[in-house]
């Protein structure tokens, strides 16, 4: 286990060190201490390494991650795992706004709650939230899966494209063009796999599935009031 003290090392050297790890590095386990809510921690990583952040993080922790597994032993600030390509980001606490924004791949697990705009514009990432999520989550979500074990706030899935949304609890309101859809066996299978990978004990059968009605895909003046 390599330990980096952020206070002593500084952000630039910390990120440069983690970014320099290659696919065959034998230094696969890293720990960051004294994170103290710093921004842009462990961003742009591209190696199968395991990074544990002790404490809470500021904005954009794990941004554009590829391959790495990043665990936050605390809560995460806005834009955690934004534009993630692959790998895994796990947050033991809560996540602020725009968690997993525009993510293209990989798995984001939030053990606590996620704030508004979770999964905004997601493009293939899988997000599993053990608690609740805030308003406007999955806004303009393009693809990937968002799993919410608790409740969802207002305007879930507004202007949704092809992302799949699974919610176990209540949905305060659905956004424009987002509808409840039939949960078919293949969806239960996807959900079971995601819950397994996230290490969350929940029954897929307890969830409802939401998706795009696809009515706003091509502009129709009769739908103008939906915008």
């Amino acid at each position: 286990m390599q330990t980096i003290d952020l206070e002593a090392t500084g952000l630039r050297d910390l990120n440069a060190t983690l970014q320099a790890q290659s696919a065959d590095t034998n230094q696969t386990a890293w720990e960051i201490v004294n994170a103290k809510g710093s921004h842009a921690l462990a961003v742009g990583l591209d190696a199968p390494i395991d990074v544990t952040v002790k404490g809470s993080t500021g904005y954009y922790c794990g941004g554009m991650n590829k391959q790495a597994t990043i665990r936050i032993h605390g809560s995460a600030g806005p834009g955690v795992a934004e534009n993630m390509m692959s790998g895994t980001v796990i947050i033991e606490g809560d996540a602020s706004q725009y968690a997993g924004a525009t993510g293209h791949g990989g798995l984001l697990v939030i053990k606590g709650n996620a704030s508004s705009r979770c999964g905004i514009s997601m493009k293939g990432i899988d997000i599993v939230v053990q608690g609740n999520i805030g308003h406007m989550s999955a806004f303009m979500a393009q693809s990937g899966n968002l799993v919410v074990c608790g409740n969802a706030g207002d305007a879930l899935g507004d202007s949704l494209y092809e992302a799949r949304l699974f919610v176990r609890g209540t949905v305060k309101s659905l956004g424009a063009d987002c509808i409840e859809k039939e949960m078919r066996p293949e969806h239960l299978e996807i959900l079971r796999d995601l819950l397994d990978r996230a290490g969350i004990d929940a029954k897929p059968e307890e969830f409802k599935r939401y998706g795009s009605a696809r009515k706003l895909y091509n502009f129709d003046v009769d739908n103008a009031s939906a915008y």
């Binding site: 970014q19 725009y98 924004a101 092809e162 895909y217």
Partner: protein, 446 residues
Amino acid sequence: MKDKIDRKIPQTVPRQSWTFSNEINSEIRRAAATGIYDIRGGGAKRRVPHFDDLLFLGASISRYPLEGYREKCGTNVTLGTRFAQNPIELDIPVTIAGMSFGALSGPAKEALGRGASAAGTSTTTGDGGMTPEERGHSSKLVYQYLPSRYGMNPDDLRKADAIEVVVGQGAKPGGGGMLLGQKISDRVAQMRNLPKGIDQRSACRHPDWTGPDDLEIKILELREITGWKVPVYIKIGGTRPYYDTALAVKAGADVVVLDGMQGGTAATQDVFIEHVGLPILACIHGAVKALQDLGMHRKVQLIVSGGIRTGADVAKAMALGADAVAIGTAALIALGDNDPHWEEEYRKLGTTTGAYDDWHEGKDPAGITTQDPELMARFDPIEGGRRLKNYLKVLTLEAQTIARACGKNHLHNLEPEDLCAITMEAAAMARVPLAGTDWYPGKGGF
């Protein structure tokens, strides 16, 4: 009527309304028939005060000119000297503005790269990600970071020579992107992670930051991902240039790109293009003043775009304080957009040479703003690149001609003092004196 003629009463000529002109009436009829606003490409077509309303004074006894063709007049520019390890060095201060693959064909993007590289300048991606064609053919490529984040990934980000965070553009400040279904080919859809054939409306706000304080942190993240190597530009549409420039500097920009309402778009509502935003002439003074007030003029470079057509425009923008300019529409025309060669086909589309602006429909006879394989095949990227290089060279030669006449041995030495305005509006907007006076509106002592 017959009665009047019979009685030999003099007739007035039929009078068209200025308010309800044929042009306006045709738009009313179009709206009544379709129920949807008009969408088109390009920038503002209305007449606005522009660089044409400024003149250079030249030299005589009180100023000393340089010898044309003999005495050197430098044209190089370095962009991104504030924080980046590797600022961009360009031979000429004319860059190619961001235009997306999707809006433009792959060969058109290739031609922009070829022409710009041959002329020693940079090109810019657009809302659709980086294609191998443009990276491969652009010696200096600026990668746009847009609200949609279509195709955004850290590998391409690290291939970029600079990153341009797009907050707005002159054609539609406050508006998002639009690429209609007819241009969403398999390849465009795949790059954007969206189904084929659907209308794509990119968001107008970034998904993961709000306001200048957040933007500062976003830029920190982008610099950390790219190792502080490449410059970060911030592009803004011309709205409140003084404050927006100041906030861009505060957020950590290496370069501010300022785009006026004449700057083009691939597809936006006509009402937006024509009625929102400022002419570029009205933007430059405010942006330069903000940089000067912060002690950052020439430290944070300013790129100006929106209606740059000639070397005179280049020289005037630089005399007002810009470090470089960017061209978009002019570059497309150099490639062959709106060329009289295609007049017969323009007529079939209900338009004419120079007026063709339905770029969003993907039926461009010149094969530039389309994803249709047959139309694309009409466009030769090598020939297009050669034409763009020639045009960029002419812009530079023209700007040098003017600079030498003003006694300047580098384009950067042009200054507001070299200029006068021939209209009150231009004098007020650019804050250069009305010709023959030392006064501009707002300044005392007329």
